[in-house]
Symmetry: C2
Subunit: 254 residues, 2 copies
């Protein structure tokens, strides 16, 4: 084992590893070791203290190099246990051109999907909600927040707002919001989504089990009835490492 260690982390290799600060050289050395398969998926790195000793740098410098690779998703730390090369999770694919519910979608691909409710309640609408859902003064809005879990892995956080007119009591929703809306004959038929990428904040990262700053897909969706009336306004945050959206495009009339 000691041979392997010094082979990867020898001070000679670091000094010859191009320009830049020590932690950058060390980061590149580690990255390279993973890329060429010298360190394989699931492998444990040597303890930080050992790396520091063999590379002749301080432990703080080792941690800084590892910090960056954790932020890039290449390594994962497990407190009290060690640091490991990330095993890529198999990505869930979501068809962007179809409006489906999470529950239905996961069932269709044979995955066990469940949710943990974070919140259900009736509220006075925020200015955003009034604008987007077209609410009159004095009306209420139902808010439903949940953690989406597929095959026991947290996948997304979802905050939905529905006009109180269409869903007066959010407590009746147990699994699929869309199924409940369908029951009430107000299932949306069209939606507009806005997709962007964002670095996760502490609270969201905690719920999804990823490090602070991990990349997430942020999706805002507004769903409409056939009449053009807005029904639902949902903000979701998907784990970037676990979700793929697939969209089909056609040539655009300008």
């Amino acid at each position: 084992m000691t041979e392997d260690l010094s082979a990867i982390f020898s001070p000679e290799r670091l000094s010859g590893g191009g320009p830049g600060p020590l932690y950058v050289k060390l980061r590149r050395t580690l990255e390279e070791a993973v890329k060429i398969g010298r360190l394989k998926q699931g492998d444990a790195l040597p303890p930080e203290r050992d790396i520091a000793e063999f590379a002749a740098v301080s432990r703080v410098t080792v941690r800084k190099a590892i910090d960056d690779l954790v932020a890039e998703g290449i390594l994962v730390r497990r407190h009290g246990s060690g640091t490991f090369v990330t095993k890529p999770v198999s990505k869930v694919e979501q068809r962007l051109s179809q409006l489906t519910s999470f529950t239905e979608d996961m069932a269709r691909r044979g995955m066990t999907a469940r949710s943990e409710w974070l919140h259900k309640g009736i509220h006075t609408p925020s200015p955003d909600e009034m604008m987007i859902l077209g609410l009159a003064a004095g009306t209420k809005v139902s808010r439903l927040s949940r953690l989406r879990i597929a095959d026991d892995q947290p996948l997304a956080i979802e905050h939905a707002s529905v006009s109180g007119e269409f869903l007066p009591d959010p407590a009746v929703v147990t699994t699929s919001l869309y199924a409940e809306l369908e029951k009430r004959q107000v299932r949306p038929v069209r939606a507009v989504q806005r997709i962007s990428a964002t670095n996760m904040k502490e609270s969201d990262a905690g719920l999804l089990g990823v490090p602070v700053g991990a990349a997430g897909l942020s999706i805002e969706r507004i769903s409409y009835l056939g009449s053009g009336r807005a029904v639902e306004f949902t903000r979701s945050l998907y784990r970037g490492d676990a979700y793929d959206f697939v969209a089909e495009l056609t040539i655009g009339a300008t």
Copy 2:
């Protein structure tokens, strides 16, 4: 000024700021100060050494707190100058349901778009390229990589691969790849995109002028002719803080 400093960073406030390590408390304090407008967009933070002194913690701890907020995109550091509250960049919106070229798209919204070529060349196709573009053995592929810049701000990195049959000499492409393909009557009419979020690696982050680990939208696109033949395979990486994709959905036939 000193009053403001101690008002925000007093040790009392930190100790009363909930549970967790010092740098987490300090991070929350800073985050709160930004959220409630105590620190406004573009404002400079006090020097790290001053914060450390007033909060009665070491400078390393201050840096760790700031590190996290930089990773979340809330603060930006400028070497030799100071640390500042981020001014949000206005996001570019891209319609997902239409297949347009970057150049055409930016022109339509009145922005000055340009590109810097990172690479143009003819290569032996990779296994991926052979599969996706349906290349026969012995054929070549044109690769074009460029940095997309809108209003003097780097926005995306794009790596395009086109079958040599359709584009034997990539040097002829100067501005719009699609315009060139149209000239050759092989402009695609349909495409499939795969969208995910990822934390940027050093090289990409450097080109786009964002910190390592910043969130990016990763988009893989395969474009097809009317005949169903694949023309182009493009991998792009967009700055997550500067790009929004908008998609319209309709109810899906299962």
